[in-house]
């Protein structure tokens, strides 16, 4: 698994990679994660169940992304792939430069590559145009791709021009063992609406500024709990001051993920006001905790929950208020425990891992082609871009050959397979395993 986004950074992509890796380990596969160094966290780390993580000492330069160098990551990617005996390289997130570079190098070296896109992106602004071009380059020669919703698949296919038959839809999931409802049912005398998200434009913080005062005016028994931080927090604080809602709107600030569940179970309704979402794991977590969700009807959100667990609204204040009213009326009929049990059956990371395994099997079955057969695929990316991409791949190929000459693959020592780590490993057995391997 390759991505710029992994723990200790926290988010949807990071937890997707972590949970998917854990479930693949349980299925008996060998999984190695490669990401960039985070501060002093550099080198090899082993996390739960012996999941090996390479924190390569490339410093991030913009929004947690590694500096794009095109070819400088080739030596370390090659070394890791050879020493760990990797067969499939799985990149995550279109915004990750390390992912794109690693997939390019893996493809050059003849390995199978899979890409998962986690977000929706636009088509019109300068940033999106450039990123879509990079995505076109990466997906021009991909074996298989995965998207987290049908909407996301449509978005990825349109942005990159990849054949839809190559794109699988494998949704995210939620750790229902961690997100359980409160054992005691909350009283309906006072309705608590919980909002936990980054307070940024993309997550609809401006919508909240319009919706919250109106809901507080119409429903005197409603109060809000807002968790999260970001540049739009100031606007929410101003809204509290302006409408004197200090006793009805509680601002928690940044909430560590370990505390999200305890905050969720203090509420009846979860409010999501995102302006764009490929999937939205947050509403899964809320539903798993037994909260009724009110969300904007954007992106892949309508595909996530059944109609009786979510009330959808257009991303406009009036419609959001109407949806909150409908949700408040539905609260007495909601049983959090029943909701949680339904979520357990609907979503599990084990199911995601099994479906991803099918994608890997399909990727392994795709034919191996040489450079000359692969170059025409890049020419379809554009009249000028296609030729540029071909030149980049040719240079990458030549650099790879040079590395093969300077440091042959036989000289790179393979890491012995010790399996999932247990509490105690006999030292002598480990030494014998290493000697036998060598």
């Amino acid at each position: 698994m390759v991505s710029d986004f992994f723990f200790p950074n926290f988010g949807g992509v990071e937890s997707h990679i972590y949970y998917l890796s854990q479930c693949l380990l349980k299925l008996g596969h060998k999984v190695v994660v490669m990401t960039h160094a985070y501060g002093n966290r550099s080198g090899v780390r082993y996390v739960t169940n012996g999941l090996k993580v390479y924190y390569v000492p490339w410093r991030p330069f913009l929004m947690q992304n590694t500096l794009p160098t095109l070819f400088l990551t080739l030596p370390i990617v090659r070394t890791i792939i050879i020493r760990e005996k990797i067969s499939v390289v799985h990149g995550h997130q279109a915004f990750s430069t390390l992912c794109h570079e690693a997939l390019m190098h893996a493809r050059t070296m003849g390995y199978k590559v899979v890409f998962t896109d986690h977000s929706l992106y636009g088509f019109a602004d300068a940033g999106s145009i450039h990123m879509n071009k990079v995505l076109q380059f990466t997906l021009a020669d991909i074996d298989q791709a995965i998207c987290v919703s049908h909407t996301s698949k449509e978005n990825t296919v349109l942005r990159s021009g990849i054949a839809p038959e190559k794109v699988f839809m494998v949704p995210n999931a939620v750790d229902t063992a961690m997100f359980t409802p409160s054992p005691k049912r909350l009283s309906c005398d006072e309705i608590v609406i919980v909002v936990i998200s980054r307070l940024v434009y993309r997550k609809g913080a401006d919508l909240l500024v319009e919706v919250i005062p109106e809901v507080c005016r119409l429903f005197p028994k409603v109060r809000f709990i807002i968790g999260g931080d970001g540049p739009k927090r100031v606007r929410l604080e101003e809204m509290r001051e302006k409408f004197s809602l200090q006793d009805r709107v509680e601002m928690l600030g940044a909430v560590p993920h370990a505390q999200v569940r305890s905050r969720l179970i203090s509420g009846h309704i979860f409010l999501n006001s995102s302006l764009t979402e490929a999937f939205c794991i947050a509403i899964l977590e809320a539903a798993s905790c037994g909260l009724l969700t009110v969300s904007t009807r954007v992106g892949g959100v309508p595909e996530v929950l059944p109609d009786d667990m979510i009330v959808l609204a257009e991303p406009a204040p009036e419609d959001m208020v109407r949806a909150v009213k409908k949700a408040i009326d539905m609260i007495p009929g909601i049983d959090p425990q029943v909701m949680h049990l339904r979520m357990k059956k609907l979503y599990s990371w084990d199911d995601v891992a099994k479906r991803t395994e099918i994608v890997y099997d399909r990727a392994m079955q795709s034919s191996t082609t040489n450079l000359l057969d692969r170059l025409p695929r890049y020419l379809t990316c554009g009249s000028w871009a296609g030729k540029l991409f071909c030149i980049v791949m040719i240079i990458n190929y030549l650099l790879w050959r040079l590395l093969e000459f300077l440091q042959p693959a036989e000289d790179i020592e393979v890491v012995p397979d010790i399996g999932p780590l247990h509490a105690q490993i006999q030292r002598d057995d480990l030494c014998e395993a290493q000697e036998n391997q060598i």
Binding site: V56, P57, W58, P75, T79, C431
Partner: protein, 190 residues
């Protein structure tokens, strides 16, 4: 009584030897001199001399261009500098400590002695750099934040590190089984 074991690796520049002499366990790794690097170091020195002597012979005052040339030449000479290592050895003295030695072809020897009480654990560690990843043998020391690299200049293959690591483990285990010391979880890992 001397016991000698040799182990050659595919790249052929490392040779491993093991001696036992008067109760002292000596593990040595010999490194072949690289002729290419010697030639490159001479080229670097000649390049530096040319850049330094050119403004002197031309009897011109130092201009910005010549300063840049000299600075560049110093960097190139530094890059190509080669202090070849003849061998690196680990001398294990039971109940006493471990001495780590670096012998250069120039005759210089760097030595560092680590008393046995200072060694918490020997480790075979994976080191990750921006361009590569390799195995190294290190000592985890009590009350010190940094690991001590046993083979500091050379990067021998892991099959040469394993017998040295085993010998160091035997040393530290025998020390811990002696007096009743409880292992303190003093890890330098973050």
């Amino acid at each position: 009584m001397n016991q000698e074991q040799k182990c050659e690796v595919p790249c052929g520049i490392y040779t491993y030897e093991h001696h036992c002499r008067m109760g002292v366990d000596i593990h040595e790794i010999f490194v072949k001199k690289s002729r290419l690097r010697v030639v490159l170091s001479y080229i670097g020195i000649v390049f530096l001399l040319v850049n330094v002597s050119q403004p002197l012979l031309a009897k011109e005052s130092l201009s910005l261009g010549s300063v840049w040339n000299i600075t560049f030449a110093v960097l190139v000479a530094k890059c190509f500098q080669y202090k070849p290592v003849k061998k690196e050895s680990v001398v294990i003295m039971p109940a006493f400590g471990v001495q780590v030695e670096i012998h250069f072809w120039s005759g210089r020897v760097d030595r560092r002695f680590v008393p046995i009480g200072k060694i918490l654990k020997p480790l075979i560690n994976e080191c990750v750099t921006p361009v590569t990843c390799y195995w190294s043998l290190t000592l985890l020391l009590r009350d010190e934040e940094e690991l001590l690299l046993v083979f500091q200049k050379s990067r021998p293959p892991v099959k040469m590190l394993v017998p040295v690591w085993k010998a160091l483990c035997t040393l530290t285990n025998s020390e811990h089984l002696g007096p009743s010391i409880v292992d303190e979880p003093n890890s330098s890992e973050e």
